[in-house]
Each structure stands twice: as structure tokens, then as C-alpha cells.
């Protein structure tokens, strides 16, 4: 490595940092005022890029290249800002008083819908934009040629930073944003129309993200995977910089991007005869930066502890099932155990049942951290993936027997959950959620890029169990036994003193700690346990499908889990099981039939969140209560 290649990468890093900063800054401003973490923020970035690459050539035809390029960027920014305003009016307005989890899910639904809308409008292929007229050459610095556009982008970040700072300090609008960030009610009591302010803030945040995306036009193609990858990185940046701090967001963006650039610049190095490919480290650079910062400063570089987030509705206590409920559960277990026999008449039934069993274990493990634990994880797919890949790697590459391979997978998931969980449980509320999502993105990108071990984008094939699990019935019954064991364990723990401590920590961290409960440790152990059982679901999945690919462990898997839990109802132990069953049925039938299943899933989520916030179990309970009330009359 030489000094000039380092410089080259440093400028490159600053250019990436600018894009990242624009997304994170918008996210931060919106969160500050509305207290909503906008999961669709990466989508605004992506849309900005798509609209710019579409608009620039169109405008270019009439106005000439330069006007087309810059007009395209301006038009895309404006269009995305307007879209943001519309989204706030139509959707977010209904969510301001909803529980945090529902806000996250609803904006995630928006991400899914926007992604499919982009697929519909622009097709699945990446679209390249025009190069920047007048900035397509290079500048010479210390004998090295740097792309002019990268230098330009590197400068844009600080310019926007200063611009935002001036906006926030020098204008009345900015002062309103700062005031509302601290005390929304008081702002309203001073006669300021909150609704209008929120719309404007959302449009501003969306516009900044759209601008960030549009600027990438000359650097990277518009692609449908951008929304999630940018969102994951922006979350890391926001957590590292400190939620709500624009300055922190910029510093964190530079830090993350520069560490990555440094790793790339170092390339392959030799230490004591071993060669290390440092560029591989770019995959985990974000994780390392975040880990170091969070250990030293749990609220990020410039962040402060969130003023007590809105106290949610009091959770009703979990109750053991009554006699009729137990009888129903027993009947369901017998039905599932008899599935191989039923399969003689309905050939598809055991396949569907196996999917359901795996989904039930997955959803129940997520419910354990979400419901009794009160920690909404958006990254449960990570442990599913670690379990699946651990199992698949041990079974194929190491040639271990089925039980040993399965145990390896579970162990991998347990280790991952213990490691990531240690960081996550230190954070509360949306910080926790963002960090879980960021970890899951990191696991995903490692899996995607570490070809030697994971098979890269193809994944691992030929993961078949050996005797006695090599028959359909053998594997199914073993999976059922594992899942039932896991579910029984979770249920036992929820009602054990440990489960009570976990729920106490959820309901009031301070009071629980004052009564001698080590809340952080209880949370950590429960997170690790949930990750372990989730890993078991992943291992079963690998054997059931005979293969595992990155797609199966992407953030979509995490969201599926959340939808299962919500569909069933968070406030019941049976909820996730009912939800898993219903969701699997829905997925295996309806969603297979359409290319636009993401949008469909998004709509399902929105309907759930806006209309049926208590899920199937809540609905059933209400019916039962009504019937009881009717009988008593």
C-alpha cells in the first residue's frame, strides 16, 4: 500500500460518507420531532436515485446534459420530499400514538410497498445514470488522479451539515424543530400547528434522503436492494453518532466510511508469514466501529439517553391455559403427530406442516424477547441464519452426522446471540431495534460475501439428514419433537421466576432493579436463549429444504417473524403459534402466486397494525369474553 492509494481511498470514503450522512441526518431529524424511526428511509434514498436516473436523461434531451443532470437531482429531491409529505399525512399521522413496534412495522410495510412499486415502475434490472457533466474528469492530488465527482460528493456532506445547522439555528422553522424535539405539547400550546410542522419535518427528512440518493447517480446504478442496505448502514451511523445529533451523524458516517476505505486500501497484507486480506474486513468494519463506540459511550458519540420513551399500555398478565385450552393444545399436538398418516391422503399436508412447525419455533423464540422481554428485535433472522448455516456447513463441509451438525448450528446461533445480545440489551426501545437490525444486516453481508465458507450468493446445497431422519416422516417427527421441546421450555421459563424477573424488567426497569433483579443480565440471557432456539429452527429449516441461501436469512425473515407474532397477538403465548400457522398457510398459498408478494405482505402488515392491533389470539379472546358475557346474562 502506498500513501497515494490511501489518499484515493480516503476521498472515496468521504464521498460514501456524504451519502450515508444524508440518510442518517434525515432519519435523525424525523425521529427527533415525531419519535418515529422511519424504516422506509432507505426507500426514500433509493427512490431519489431511481427518479434521478429517469429524470436526468428526459430533462437532458430538452435542456442539455448539464441542466438535465442537475435538474434531475433537484427534481428527484423535490419529488421525494412531496412523497414524504404525502406519506406523513396518509399513514404516519395515524401512528403517532401507537406503540413503538407498530410504528416500526408500519413504516417497514411502507418499505415493502415502495420496493414493489419500484419493481413495477422500473423493472428488476439495475439502471445506470448519466455521468456528471463537467465533473466526469479527474483532479490530480499528490500525483494521484481522483475522480472529480468523488471530490464533489466528499464536499457535499460538510455543506449539507453546515446548511442543516444554519437551518436549525437561524430560522424559525429550525427553532420549531428543535423546540418540538424537546416538547411537542408545549409547542402546540404556543399556538403552533403541530400537524403542519410534522408534515414539513417529514418532507424535509425525506427530501434530504432523496437528495442523497439522487447524488449517487453518477457513481452507482439504481438498484432494488439499496433501500435495505442503506437503511442498515444508516442505523449503524445513527447509533454510533447518537440519535438526534446531526453533527454525530456526520462524524459517524465519516468514521464508518473511512475505516472501510482504510481496510480496502490496505488490501492483502502479510504478517509473520500469514497473508490477511484486509479488504475482507470491510464487511465487519461497521460492526467493529459500533462495538467500540457503544462500549465506550452507550448512547453514541453525541447522543444522550432518551427521555423516558412514552410509557406503553400496561401489558395484561400472561395466564396459563384453562382446561379447555389445554385440551385444544393436546388435540393440536396429536393432529400434528399424525401428519405422516394424513400425508397418505393429502400429499402436501406434511410439507406444509413441517413449514408450520419450523415457523412456530421461530416465531415463539422471537415472541419470547418481544412479549415477555419487551424487546422488539428486527434482526431475529440473524440467529435463524447462524443456526441454518452452522448446520449446513457442519453437515456438508465437515461431514458431521445429522445430530452433531444440528448441534453445531445451534451452538453457532447461541454464540452469535450471546455476542450480539450483549451489545443490544444495553440499549432501550428504538435503539435496541436498530442495533438488532444492523447486526442482522452484518450477518447477512458476511454470509453473502464469505464464499469459501458460505457459498456466497448460491448458498450451501445438499444438506440432507442421514438415517433415521432421511425419510420425510423421520425428519418431520424429529422436527416436531425439537419444536415441541423448545416451546415447552419457553413456556416453562415464562412462568418460572426467571420469566417473572424478565417481565418485571419490561414493565419497569427501575423498580425491577431496585428489587434486586439484574435486568441487563436477565435480558441478555433471555436474548441468548431466544437466539439459540431460533438457531434450532434455522437448523431444521436447512435440513427441511436441503439447502440454505442468503435470501432465506435476509431481513425479510425477521419481518416474517414479526408479522407472525403480531398476526397471532403479542399478548398471548399461543399467539405466535397461531400466527406462524396462519402466516405459513398464507405464504404457501397466496404469496407464491404473485410477483408482488412484498407489497401484499406490506398491505397485510398495515391492515394488522391499523385495524387489528391484538392479532388472532386477541380476537379469539374477545369472542370468548363476549360469549361468556352473553351466557351470564
Amino acid at each position: 500500500m502506498s500513501l497515494d492509494s490511501l489518499l484515493f481511498q480516503a476521498v472515496n470514503g468521504l464521498a460514501s460518507a456524504s451519502g450515508l450522512f444524508l440518510v442518517a441526518a434525515g432519519l435523525s431529524v424525523i425521529f427527533g420531532v415525531t419519535r418515529i424511526v422511519n424504516m422506509a428511509h432507505g426507500s426514500f434514498y433509493m427512490l431519489g436515485l431511481y427518479i434521478a436516473v429517469t429524470l436526468a436523461p428526459l430533462l437532458g434531451e430538452h435542456l442539455g446534459g448539464a441542466a438535465g443532470f442537475w435538474g434531475g437531482i433537484a427534481g428527484a429531491t423535490l419529488a421525494v420530499a412531496l412523497l414524504g409529505a404525502a406519506v406523513e399525512r396518509v399513514l404516519l399521522r395515524r401512528l403517532y400514538n401507537a406503540p413503538e413496534l407498530y410504528q416500526l412495522l408500519a413504516t417497514f410495510a411502507l418499505l415493502l410497498i415502495i420496493n414493489d412499486a419500484a419493481l413495477f415502475l422500473w423493472g428488476p434490472e439495475d439502471i445506470l445514470g448519466p455521468r456528471a457533466p463537467g465533473l466526469s474528469g479527474s483532479v490530480e492530488l499528490l500525483g494521484r488522479r481522483l475522480p472529480q465527482y468523488d471530490v464533489f460528493l466528499a464536499l457535499i456532506g460538510p455543506v449539507v451539515l453546515v446548511g442543516l445547522h444554519l437551518l436549525l439555528t437561524r430560522t424559525r422553522f429550525g427553532r420549531l424543530i428543535r423546540a418540538a424535539t424537546q416538547d411537542r405539547e408545549m409547542v402546540a400550546a404556543l399556538g403552533i400547528n403541530e400537524a403542519l410542522l410534522f408534515t414539513a419535518v417529514f418532507a424535509l427528512g425525506a427530501g434530504i434522503a432523496g437528495f442523497g440518493g439522487a447524488l449517487q447517480m453518477a457513481r452507482e446504478p439504481a438498484s432494488l436492494s439499496l433501500d435495505l442496505s442503506v437503511l442498515g448502514e444508516a442505523f449503524v451511523v445513527v447509533v454510533v453518532g447518537g440519535m438526534g445529533s446531526i453533527k454525530g451523524a456526520y462524524l459517524a458516517a465519516v468514521l464508518v466510511a473511512e475505516v472501510k476505505a482504510l481496510c480496502t486500501a490496505l488490501g492483502v497484507i502479510e504478517i509473520a508469514g500469514y497473508t490477511f486480506n484486509m479488504s475482507w474486513l470491510t464487511l465487519v468494519a461497521e460492526f467493529l466501529v459500533m462495538a467500540v463506540v457503544l462500549v465506550l459511550r452507550p448512547h453514541g458519540l453525541f447522543g444522550r439517553a432518551l427521555a423516558a420513551t412514552k410509557a406503553g399500555e400496561a401489558e395484561p398478565p400472561l395466564l396459563p391455559l384453562d382446561r379447555r385450552g389445554r385440551a385444544l393444545v393436546l388435540a393440536a399436538i396429536l393432529l400434528f403427530a399424525a401428519m405422516p398418516l394424513i400425508g397418505m391422503f393429502f400429499r402436501y399436508a406434511p410439507v406444509l406442516a413441517l413449514d408450520m412447525v419450523i415457523a412456530a419455533l421461530f416465531a415463539a423464540s422471537l415472541h419470547f424477547v418481544m412479549g415477555p422481554g419487551g424487546m422488539a428485535s428486527f434482526g431475529h433472522a440473524a440467529y435463524f441464519g447462524l443456526g441454518a448455516y452452522g448446520t449446513a456447513f457442519a453437515a456438508t463441509q465437515l461431514g458431521l452426522s445429522t445430530p452433531l451438525a444440528f448441534a453445531t448450528g445451534i451452538g453457532t446461533a447461541a454464540a452469535g446471540a450471546a455476542l450480539f445480545g450483549w451489545f443490544c440489551v444495553r440499549l432501550e426501545g428504538v435503539y435496541f431495534t436498530m442495533l438488532t437490525l444492523a447486526f442482522a444486516q452484518i450477518v447477512w453481508s458476511i454470509v453473502y460475501q464469505w464464499e469459501d465458507v458460505t457459498g456466497g450468493s448460491n448458498g450451501l446445497f445438499g444438506v440432507w439428514p442421514d438415517w433415521p431422519f432421511d425419510s420425510r416422516a423421520g425428519l418431520y417427527l424429529a422436527a416436531l419433537a425439537v419444536a415441541l421441546g423448545g416451546l415447552a421450555l419457553l413456556r416453562r421459563i415464562v412462568f418460572a421466576p426467571f420469566g417473572l424477573a424478565l417481565r418485571a424488567g419490561r414493565d419497569s426497569r427501575l423498580r425491577a432493579e431496585a428489587s434486586g433483579i439484574p435486568v441487563a443480565r436477565v435480558r441478555w440471557l433471555s436474548f441468548a436463549l431466544a437466539g439459540t432456539l431460533c438457531g434450532a429452527a434455522g437448523g431444521l429449516f436447512a435440513f427441511a429444504k436441503g439447502s440454505i441461501s442468503p435470501e432465506a436469512i435476509s431481513v425479510g425473515r425477521s419481518i416474517d417473524g414479526l408479522v407472525m407474532v403480531l398476526l397471532g397477538g403479542v399478548q398471548s403465548l399461543m399467539g405466535p403459534l397461531l400466527g406462524a400457522g396462519a402466516f405459513t398457510l398464507l405464504q404457501d398459498t397466496v404469496m407464491r402466486e404473485t410477483d408482488y408478494w412484498r407489497a401484499l405482505l406490506g398491505l397485510v402488515i398495515l391492515v394488522l397494525v391499523l385495524l387489528f392491533p391484538f392479532g388472532i389470539a386477541g380476537g379469539l379472546r374477545r369472542v370468548a369474553r363476549l360469549r361468556r358475557a352473553g351466557g351470564a346474562r
Binding site: R172, D183, E185, A188, L190, A195
Partner: protein
């Protein structure tokens, strides 16, 4: 806005009848009724937790409420959002002052100012930064100081001054003397007397009898969310003694 509230010349500044209000799920007020005349100063008296703060929050729309009548100068405000009520000329000075601590004193004052569309709305006497500083001279020397670096008394003055910047006709003051030094209470009494003299209507929730006695003509005594007594200020002492409130220890 249909049925736009047209201020009536003769109606009292504030009329409340049968007001119920909630804090979360818990009902705090039960059928409260009170009136504040134009240019009148009225005290709202009661123990901690009696519902004084909730009454003021219900008027400005920060607490969920239901009322047979909730009217400002004869115009119904029961269905209006908080900001719209404020723009009709109601200034709110909350109990915990709620200064924007990140913003400077000048910026806090600026946020209280009316702009654009709200300029045309009904209002009380007009205020400028110079005028509120003349009322509270302490603020003059600290216009560039962040709100978070002020003493409790200074924050209290700023909170009143900020509400005045919106040119209110009715000022709702929630325990303006709580937790501030006696000298500041004196200044606050002076300032409020001058506001009253300028024609403002005041509704003051208080536990400090000295402040109320100096300013208010009438008082309402509430207990557990219900009205217990109402009458002229000089009858309050006897009434609250029987109720065991407001006692001079």
C-alpha cells in the same frame, strides 16, 4: 372550520360547565364549572392532586376532556386542537415551566410570537420582546443564554413572557409561585398586577394564598376533581379552613 367561533361582545372570557377530564385512563375532573369574566383574575385553589393542573390542561386542550360547555368569549372551543385554542388568545404557563432548554431566551420568546395566518386571529394586548423585558427586567440581561442555564425563578418569568408573546387575552397560570424565591414571588405579583391592569383575564392555580390574595377577586376551591366552594377572595380563608386546605402552618 365550519361554525367558526365568532367572539361575542358581551360573553365572559371563559365559561366552563360540566367539565370532565382524564389523565390517561383515570378520570380527574368531575363536572367542574367555572367562569372568568373579562379582565377578571380568578384563583383556582386546592390541594395537590385536586385537579388544578388538569383543569388548565383541559382548557388549552392538552388533557382529554368532555364538557357541556367550554367557551372562549362565547365561542365553543371544545372541539378545537391545542394550537387553535392558543391562537384564539389563550396563553398557557405550565406548572413545570416547560422552557425549551436547548434554545436561548430570545429563541424561546420568538417561538411564542404569532406569525402568518395567526396574525389575524383575535388577540389581547400586543407584546414585543422589549415590552416583556420591561415587565421582567431580569430577562433583559440573558437573552442569549440557553434556557437550560436559568434559575427556576428566571425560567418562570420566561415562561410567562413567552406566553405573553402570543398576545393572549386570557392567561392560564399553573402555580406561578411554586419553587421560586420569595423575592421572585414579589416580582411575579407585581407583573401579574400590571397584566391585570392592562385588561388581561387571569386564571391562576395556586397553593400560595399571598399571591392569590394580592391579585384575584374571586376563587374556586376544588377537591378530588369536584367544585367545593366558590366566592369572593376574602371568603376563601374561612372556606378553606373548614376544608382543611390552604392552612397557614
Amino acid at each position: 372550520m365550519t361554525a367558526s367561533p365568532v367572539p361575542t361582545a358581551m360573553a365572559p372570557m371563559l365559561e366552563i360547565d360540566g367539565l370532565d377530564a382524564w389523565y390517561g385512563e383515570a378520570q380527574i375532573l368531575f363536572g367542574l364549572s367555572l367562569t372568568v369574566g373579562r379582565g377578571e383574575a380568578v384563583a383556582l385553589v386546592g390541594r395537590n392532586g385536586a385537579g388544578k393542573s388538569t383543569t388548565l390542561k383541559a382548557i388549552i386542550g392538552l388533557a382529554r376532556r368532555r364538557a357541556r360547555r367550554l367557551a372562549l368569549r362565547g365561542a365553543d372551543i371544545a372541539a378545537l386542537p391545542t394550537h387553535a385554542i392558543a391562537r384564539l388568545g389563550v396563553g398557557y404557563v405550565p406548572e413545570d415551566r416547560r422552557i425549551f432548554t436547548e434554545l436561548t431566551v430570545a429563541e424561546n420568546l420568538d417561538l411564542g410570537r404569532r406569525t402568518g395566518a395567526s396574525d389575524a386571529a383575535p388577540r389581547g394586548p400586543r407584546w414585543s420582546v422589549e415590552e416583556v423585558v420591561a415587565l421582567f427586567p431580569n430577562l433583559g440581561g440573558m437573552l442569549d443564554r440557553p434556557g437550560g442555564q436559568m434559575s427556576g425563578g428566571e425560567q418562570q418569568m420566561l415562561s410567562v413572557a413567552r406566553a405573553l408573546m402570543g398576545d393572549p387575552a386570557l392567561l392560564l397560570l399553573d402555580e406561578p409561585s411554586e419553587g421560586v424565591a420569595p423575592i421572585v414571588v414579589e416580582q411575579m405579583i407585581d407583573a401579574l398586577l400590571r397584566l391585570k391592569a392592562s385588561g388581561l383575564s387571569l386564571l391562576i392555580s395556586e397553593q400560595n394564598s399571598a399571591l392569590c390574595e394580592a391579585i384575584c377577586e374571586r376563587a374556586y376551591l376544588i377537591e378530588q376533581g369536584e367544585l367545593r366552594w366558590q366566592g369572593a377572595m376574602d371568603g376563601l380563608a374561612a372556606a378553606s379552613e373548614t376544608a382543611g386546605i390552604f392552612g397557614k402552618i
